[in-house]
């Protein structure tokens, strides 16, 4: 082995990259050559000093958050323990953030999540004895006027009994610190709460189903109103309810 070869291979020896045969050859050369002995010792010393020094960089929290928010976010999946924990981790990353754009995006999602959780809580409250309805009637012409004067905008009240969803009444509820109308339906013995609130957005937002605490919630927006239909019936049945409700509302507007 020449010194030129040894000067390259001694690094592979330092890095433990040589097989036993080559390692022995390099060691043999080093043992017999004072120049290479000195070079090997010097390089080993440098490697030791480098290993004792922190030469890594840590990615800023803002970069991590930028990358996180650029990934498609799981919003429709049932929250698992893991995603809840990740939510906490995200929260602390955000609070550590000075940068603004990211915060706005994250907070907007948190906001939707918070309102969803309030909607589900309101649904749960309504299931307690005596809390389901303020006005009890299967007649839409009784339920609808009851809301008038109690809310800025009365929710549309539509009888869907013929389609398999029985109107049972209405109720005032509170979501996001605001009074909101709840129209109550039943499918067999299962309660469906339809929450309706005013929104400044007039664009149509197609229905999307989210799950929280075992309840399905289908949310959509239309003609300046936000709708949340919440129930423990299956997601497909809830989608059917929303489809029939939307079709009936459309027919009412056009008719």
């Amino acid at each position: 082995m020449t010194c030129d070869e040894a000067r390259i291979l001694l690094h592979a020896l330092l890095d433990n990259e040589l097989d036993a045969g080559h390692a022995r050859e390099v060691e043999a050369h080093i043992a017999s050559c004072s120049d290479c002995t000195a070079e090997f010792a010097a390089q080993r010393e440098m490697q030791r000093v480098l290993a004792d020094t922190n030469l890594r960089y840590t990615a800023p929290a803002s970069l991590r958050a930028r990358i996180e928010t650029s990934l498609p976010q799981a919003q429709h999946q049932q929250p698992t323990r893991r995603s809840v924990l990740r939510g906490f981790a995200m929260g602390s990353a955000v609070s550590a953030l000075a940068a603004s754009g990211v915060v706005a995006v994250v907070l907007r999602q948190d906001d939707q999540q918070r309102i969803l959780s309030e909607v589900v809580s309101a649904h749960l409250r309504s299931l307690q004895a005596g809390h389901l309805t303020d006005v009890v009637s299967t007649d839409q012409h009784t339920v609808k006027p009851w809301f008038n004067g109690k809310l800025d905008v009365a929710p549309p009240v539509i009888d869907l009994t013929a389609q398999g969803f029985t109107l049972v009444g209405g109720r005032l509820d509170y979501i996001d610190a605001r009074a909101i109308g709840a129209v109550v339906y039943k499918r067999r013995q299962h309660v469906i709460n339809l929450f309706v609130s005013q929104t400044s957005s007039t664009e149509h937002r197609p229905p999307k189903t989210q799950t929280m605490q075992g309840f399905n919630c289908r949310r959509w927006g239309d003609r300046g109103l936000n709708f949340w239909a919440v129930s423990d019936i299956g997601a497909d049945e809830l989608a059917e309810f929303v489809d029939k409700l939307e079709a009936a509302m459309k027919a009412n507007v056009e008719g």
Binding site: V49, L55, Y57, T58, L63, I67, S70, L71, Q75
Partner: protein
């Protein structure tokens, strides 16, 4: 709203790739020598990685991310027209100079003094490409020679010779500075 497939893919990607964020950022800092350019490059690297995640078949995530980051950095080098050009894969003049010339100080008398991390980072920053890259991948990112070869797209023999040169140059610069300090 993204489709469920996208969300699941993003979740798998997050678990596979995000643990290496500090590694990728470290390499970007050394390659670009600028914190904000490094951040942009790392974000672009993760965006491209997600896009190509479907075709990712391994073996190791870290070298794969580094390979993507190199491409991003090469584009950045090209953008900085006034800077010396990209990481060259073709052996340049520096690669053909004999090793001996790079450590003129007699090795047997030199014992390196410990330095603070900032001073050592500066010495590493001053190394020429492609030696710096190989050095950082090995010494700081802890890649094996085979993984470096994979990330950089050169034979293992090239990795070995570049690393030997990088270390010889670094030690020469280090001892030269200590000579000056005396």
């Amino acid at each position: 709203m993204p489709a469920t497939d996208d969300v699941q893919k993003a979740q798998r990607f997050r678990e596979a790739a995000l643990p290496y964020l500090d590694d990728v950022y470290t390499l970007a800092r050394y390659l670009l020598r600028d914190a904000s350019d490094a951040e942009d490059a790392v974000q672009e690297c993760y965006l491209r990685a997600l896009k190509h995640f479907d075709s990712y078949r391994g073996p190791a995530m870290k070298p794969w991310l580094f390979a993507i980051l190199r491409n991003v950095c090469n584009a950045e080098y090209a953008r900085r027209a006034h800077r010396p050009s990209a990481i060259e894969d073709t052996p340049g003049a520096a690669e053909q100079t004999p090793l001996w010339q790079e450590s003129e100080v007699s090795p047997e008398t030199e014992v390196l003094r410990s330095r603070d991390a900032g001073a050592i980072r500066k010495l590493i920053d001053a190394l020429a490409e492609p030696f710096k890259e190989t050095f950082v991948l090995r010494e700081i990112n802890n890649l094996s020679y085979r993984e470096i070869a994979e990330a950089v797209g050169v034979p293992v023999g090239t990795v070995m010779s570049r690393l030997a040169r990088a270390r010889a140059m670094l030690r020469a610069a280090w001892t030269a500075e200590e000579e000056q300090a005396k």
